[in-house]
Amino acid sequence: MADKITVLWLYPDILNLHGDRGNLMALERIGKLMELPVEVRRVDKLTDPLPLDEADLLVLTSGEVKNMPHVIDALRQEQAALDEYVARGGYILAIGTAGAVLAKETERLDGTSFAGLSLLPMRCQERAKVYGDDIWFSLCDDPQLKLMGNQIQVIDTELLEGAQPLGKLIYGYGNDGADDEGCQAGRIIFTNTLGPLLVKNPRYTERLLTALAADHGLAPGRQLSAEDTDYEDHSYQLIEQFIRKKMA
């Protein structure tokens, strides 16, 4: 077993929207603060091989909806290895429109649809009108941990039978304007949250890295201190005030 956490950053030039590369910067930076060895590796082309046997976390960031079928096709080329990766408990984090990759199906505005990898029990639908707003939610598996960010809703997500949301909304639109945000099945995670998510929510990043490290028998050299996250914490407080005014 490798003595480092390996993150595969899938198709960064293709899934290139909303500053989401910041999430990879956050994994690297916060890993460093926690004194954990984190290596981020890029997989650039759709035809490039996926070193899934060496990976601990796959990150798919926001991209144009029209490119999701290309990404899905590329991952299907590695279906057996991907199945094995999921079976051994590999993490997958899909953000924004990349949720379409993990979903069962996505219906487009022109009436066409494309199948996803069905790794999460959810269905997506392209919206006629874009919706952008802040989002604030508590995690279902740790309600004390509240995450904040933005969302640019180009596709809505319907959770199908048996699906568990990632979080419950305090404010925002989430999957479809109801109560749920994202979806999680074990170590496969989808969220609508931009920001970038892992930059603005360092405690969540810390939690994710701690879990990834544990798989390698590694323990963080240190935990994040208040000083490490003072900017993020101040930002959270200010934006909470801003959101509460919108909620009033």
Binding site: I14, V40, V130, D134, Y231, F242
Partner: protein, 463 residues
């Protein structure tokens, strides 16, 4: 019946414009047109003397206003009457109001050409009654994501307004725009040669963009402007041409000149971004048949409306304000690149604020993660100040992620002008650069006039 409806719309709209001009001169750029369209939905296509072959639209994410203004100046120099929406009223109502202003009481156009800057989102609507014979697409980039979502949404809107007979004027070095040539019989490409300010990006976290044709990554050989430059797709055959029909070359920023087709042209701007506007306008003017010498004379006299750099003074210090479009990483990057060219010690004042253009208002700063700060950091910034009511810490954190130590950053979680000016007073460095929204700049300008008698706000078009 159609004619009567059109004339009724025209006259009522003219009456409205007359009334507006009494109350607020110069403000009637949109409303009269909206009234006309309310009465006659096809108003823009019902003018007498409309030559369908001489309707030119200029659209795209960035650069459409300047390109439109440049072409208007050239047409004027050539003595060719044209209806142009110079005031930037680029929705259907603005187009209607402009046409109205260039017509007789009976609705006969008094111009030979119609040249309209058109909002890319509304291009399909505007084109319905007034289809352009020529369409210039400057670029299709990330912009105002709260309503535009992703570039492909805009790409599809623009594509839906194109017929195979539309003549396209396309940016050779912007992949989205360039790829539109697949949709038509005839395209005219314009481009810019490598120059002293061209650059490459090599950082691990550098991202480019997906090919609009096949979805594989685009590779830029070098950038002339952020995300614009000679490129090739790593998957299919899409690539920029090494010799587009109109090509700005021999670019000399010291002499403020460039050449195309053997003619030397003036370029008063420092920002390479303007080269694309210039060569686009030249391409269209040349295809109209205007002589190179006439174009050069027009460009020598050209003064842009609403430049992106303005200057303020406080306590013996100079604040250079660089405007950016909200939620538009390309214009933020251009502003950062401009500041980075100044290698002297400086204070960098960053006021990214919450977004209040549309409802709901929100706190997006993620576009800053699409930008690179390395060159800025390397350009001798003595201190960074981030201010805003809500997102100052997020902006500061972007700097931290770029490698700026927190000791070099002051965060002011406020938009209060007095607080900002007081903070600036703490530093001896007289060279200050400011990036913020226009309304915040105006507020700061007003404060300085009121409190320091500062009136030397010098609009400049040098950026």
């Amino acid at each position: 019946m159609t004619r009567i409806k059109f004339l009724l719309a025209l006259w009522l709209a003219r009456l409205c414009r007359w009334a507006i001009n009494i109350v607020a001169p110069g403000r009637g750029t949109n409303l009269p047109g909206q009234i006309a369209l309310k009465i006659d939905h096809g108003f823009n296509g019902h003018f007498e003397g409309l030559d369908a072959g001489k309707v030119i639209f200029i659209t795209g994410t960035n650069g459409k206003s300047t390109t439109t203004n440049l072409l208007a100046a050239i047409l004027k120099e050539a003595g060719i009457p044209a209806a142009v929406n110079l005031e930037g009223a680029n929705l259907e109502g603005g187009v209607a109001a402009t046409l109205m202003a260039h017509s007789t009481l009976k609705g006969k156009l008094k111009c030979r050409y119609i040249v309209m800057e058109t909002d890319e989102r509304f291009l399909p609507v505007i084109s319905r009654s007034l289809p352009p014979a020529w369409l210039c697409v400057t670029n299709i980039q990330k912009d105002q994501v709260q309503r535009n979502g992703e570039p492909d949404i805009i790409y599809r809107k623009i594509a839906s307004a194109i017929t195979e007979d539309t003549v396209l004027f396309l940016n050779n070095e912007e992949p989205n725009a360039a790829s539109l040539s697949r949709l038509v019989k005839h395209s005219v490409f314009y481009g810019v040669d490598e120059h002293a300010k061209s650059f490459v990006k090599q950082g691990f976290f550098t991202t480019t963009m997906p090919c609009p044709v096949c979805g594989e990554p685009i590779r830029f050989y070098r950038y002339n402007v952020d995300n614009i430059g000679a490129f090739t797709c790593t998957g299919c055959g899409l690539k920029s041409s090494p010799a587009p029909a109109y090509f700005a070359h021999s670019i000399n920023f010291a002499d403020h000149t460039f050449a195309a087709e053997g003619q030397t042209y003036p370029l008063p701007y420092e920002a390479p971004y303007f080269l694309y506007c210039y060569i686009a306008a030249i391409a269209m003017a040349r295809e109209i048949g205007i002589a190179k010498e006439t174009i050069a004379a027009a460009l020598a006299r050209f003064v842009n409306i609403g430049g992106r750099l303005e200057t303020l003074h406080t306590g013996g210090k100079t604040i250079q304000y660089i405007r950016m479009k909200q939620e538009n990483p390309e214009t933020l990057q251009s502003a950062l690149d401009y500041i980075s060219q100044d290698k002297s010690p400086k204070i960098f004042l960053l006021g990214l604020d919450e977004l209040v253009d549309f409802h709901p208002h929100y706190t997006n700063t993620f576009y800053a993660f699409d930008c690179d700060f390395d060159q800025l950091i390397a350009s001798h910034v003595e201190h960074y100040i981030c201010f805003s009511g809500t997102v100052a810490y997020d902006a500061a954190n972007r700097l931290v992620y770029a490698g700026v130590p927190k000791e070099q950053i002051t965060v002011l979680p406020t938009n209060d002008d007095a607080t900002i000016v007081a903070e600036l007073a703490k530093y001896s460095c007289p060279n200050i650069y400011l990036i913020t929204w226009l309304y915040k700049y105006k507020s700061l300008e007003k404060y300085l006039i009121e409190h320091e008698g500062e009136k030397d706000s010098t609009p400049s078009t040098a950026v």
